[in-house]
């Protein structure tokens, strides 16, 4: 009986693979097609000639490299900031008991419901008052804040996996809590921190809404904003360079996610969901 099910299962799996993978293949293919081929009526996944110039053209396009650099700065800074402030807080959260823990966890979940569209209006006003509305510093602070809930959640899961006995042994030896944290907890937490950092980086690198609202001058644009300018811009769209730019923008995220794969397919999300 099992054998009659298998072919159907494989067929379904192949359909899933097509649905999930084909769009990306198509994008990559478009990124190496000449504009003549892209505008012709014949539709092929494999380009008739490989036209790598699209990448050069995308990179030389106004502002793409510069905005990639902006994105990199914001993503790195907000990741470092978020990690620095969330590690200690996640530790406390994981070790809390009773009502306080419930309150902390509830806040993290509620923050997922945060209506970004309601928050963005006053956030814009507040940052404008501080002179940070159209600045990468302002965007970094915003990204840091909105990465925090998830970072806290991931990290507190990793902390919870460290046996309390280890710390108590340390405390018994007369070490202060900070020493215990530094010498016992942090080293064990390192893999969790790396995973959380990669996740945070990708969140910031990909983020569009805050950047769209906050950034106004082209020299501050992040990569996603510049890419949308490619679409809307000068009337006629150059599909090839646009596809090439899109591929380049996706590479860092996909690379990090592949590294995270084991962690993501493991219990991470189940932990996040089970509470």
């Amino acid at each position: 009986m099992r054998w009659s099910v298998r072919p159907a299962q494989y067929l379904a799996l192949v359909l899933y693979l097509l649905f999930l993978g084909f769009p990306l293949l198509w994008l990559i293919s478009a990124s190496v097609k000449s504009s003549a081929e892209l505008n012709s009526l014949s539709v092929n996944l494999i380009p008739s000639e490989w036209h790598w110039d699209n990448y050069g053209e995308a990179l030389s396009r106004q502002g793409l490299l510069h905005s990639a650099f902006n994105s990199l700065l914001v993503a790195l800074a907000s990741t470092v900031l978020a990690i620095l402030i969330s590690v200690p807080a996640a530790y406390v959260l994981a070790r809390l008991k009773g009502k306080l823990r419930v309150a902390g966890v509830t806040w993290i979940l509620v923050s997922q419901v945060f209506p970004v569209v309601l928050v963005i209006l006053p956030l814009f006003l507040v940052l404008r008052t501080l002179g940070l509305a159209d600045s990468l510093v302002g965007l970094t602070l915003v990204h840091t804040t909105y990465i925090l809930p998830f970072a806290l959640w991931m990290l507190q899961g990793y902390v919870a996996a460290i046996p309390v006995d280890l710390e108590e042994a340390g405390a018994m030896d007369g070490a202060t809590r900070f020493t215990v944290l530094r010498t016992i907890v942090f080293p064990l937490l390192a893999p969790g921190v790396v995973a959380t950092a990669m996740f945070s980086f990708v969140s910031s690198w990909n983020e569009f809404f805050f950047a769209l609202v906050l950034l106004q001058s082209p020299e501050n644009y992040t990569l996603p904003i510049t890419l949308t300018m490619f679409i809307g811009g000068e009337g006629k769209v150059a599909l090839g360079p646009l596809a090439a730019g899109a591929v380049l923008a996706a590479i860092p995220s996909i690379a990090f996610f592949s590294l995270l794969r084991k962690k993501l397919t493991g219990g991470l999300m189940a932990g996040a969901v089970k509470g």
Binding site: L13, P88, T145, G271
Partner: protein
């Protein structure tokens, strides 16, 4: 598998220790010092704006150089009551949200079951299944614009090759735009749901399935009798989260269609954004935002209540 499976709850409660109050106080002070750096940005950039946002909803603030705030009472809400465009947008938003959330769950459940049944090609599938999750929404939108393209798009080419109509302007046609955008939403959201469900599936003890199989239960019966009940808590959690994420999703639709054609894909978040930053009616937009929050929270409460009520008899696990 690192964090979730630790049987944390199984540990017996520690016996009450005689504690010196000074020690407790130092510990408390330490805890506050550790939490503070996170708490400050959250309060300043997340909680405060939310509160201000709620206040804004009752003012007639406009987005100008030197805004003067005037208290407007419930004027915004009265005005909103007669704004049929807003309610249209809310209706579209609910179709989008429910459509994406339900299809996402169904598709992800199917994929998770396949990935849990020992097929070959699993490694490849698992890698591919994560890619939509990793990609920047703007890139996703650009990519799907190419797929849906009316001339020279691969979707139309495929349909043409099997003898179906091949001239459909997927994102530009009144009838197809919203469904087309929903498909992209499903594509983006599927990975995270799949991964979550898969982790849940792997925690169901194999003995349960074996016992059911011994009792002569077929695949479908095993799914309804064993898999689904065990997965209920995970399904309701991920569905709630997906519901919220999808309702709040902005970038995808903004880049794909910008709400067009003719407002057919004008999800509410996009509507509010335009009201605030194009029409510059920031107070009015805040009122809309507030209404959206209330709608989402209410719907979620109804859903979760029904879920938990169904849960209670089997709580003993």
């Amino acid at each position: 598998m690192t964090t979730a499976t630790q049987p944390r709850r199984a540990a017996p409660a520690p016996p009450p220790r005689p504690k010196k109050t000074t020690q407790a106080r130092t510990r408390r002070r330490e805890a506050i010092a550790l939490v503070m750096p996170s708490l400050i940005p959250i309060l300043v950039l997340s909680v405060a704006p939310l509160v201000i946002g709620i206040v804004l909803a009752f003012t007639d603030t406009r987005l100008v150089r030197h805004p003067d705030f005037g208290f407007a009472g419930i004027d915004n809400f009265v005005r909103l009551g007669g704004n049929s465009l807003f309610w249209d947008s809310l209706r579209i938003g609910l179709i989008w949200t429910v459509g994406v959330t339900v299809l996402q769950l169904a598709a992800a459940m199917g994929l998770a079951l396949l990935l849990n049944s020992g097929l070959k090609l699993q490694g490849l599938t698992r890698v591919l299944a994560l890619i939509p999750w990793a990609m920047p929404p703007v890139v996703v939108a650009i990519m799907w614009q190419m797929i849906y393209s009316a001339n020279g798009g691969p979707l139309n080419a495929f349909l043409g090759s099997i003898g179906l109509p091949d001239g459909i302007n997927w994102l530009g046609d009144f009838n197809t735009a919203l469904p087309a955008v929903i498909v992209v939403g499903v594509w983006v959201g599927m990975p995270q749901t799949t991964v979550t469900l898969l982790a849940g599936l792997q925690q169901i003890p194999a003995e349960l399935h074996e016992a059911a199989a011994v009792d002569g239960a077929g695949a479908w019966r095993r799914f309804t009798a064993v898999t689904w009940p065990s997965m209920r808590p995970i399904v309701s959690s991920i569905t709630s989260l997906n519901f919220i994420w999808n309702f709040n999703s902005f970038s995808l639709v903004y880049v794909l269609t910008a709400g067009g054609p003719g407002g057919k894909t004008m999800v509410p978040v996009l509507f509010v954004y335009l009201e605030a930053f194009k029409n510059r009616e920031i107070g009015y937009a805040a009122a809309m935002g507030l209404v959206l929050v209330i709608v989402v929270v209410a719907l979620l409460a109804i859903y979760l209540r029904s879920q938990f009520r169904g849960d209670r008899p089997e709580r003993g696990r």
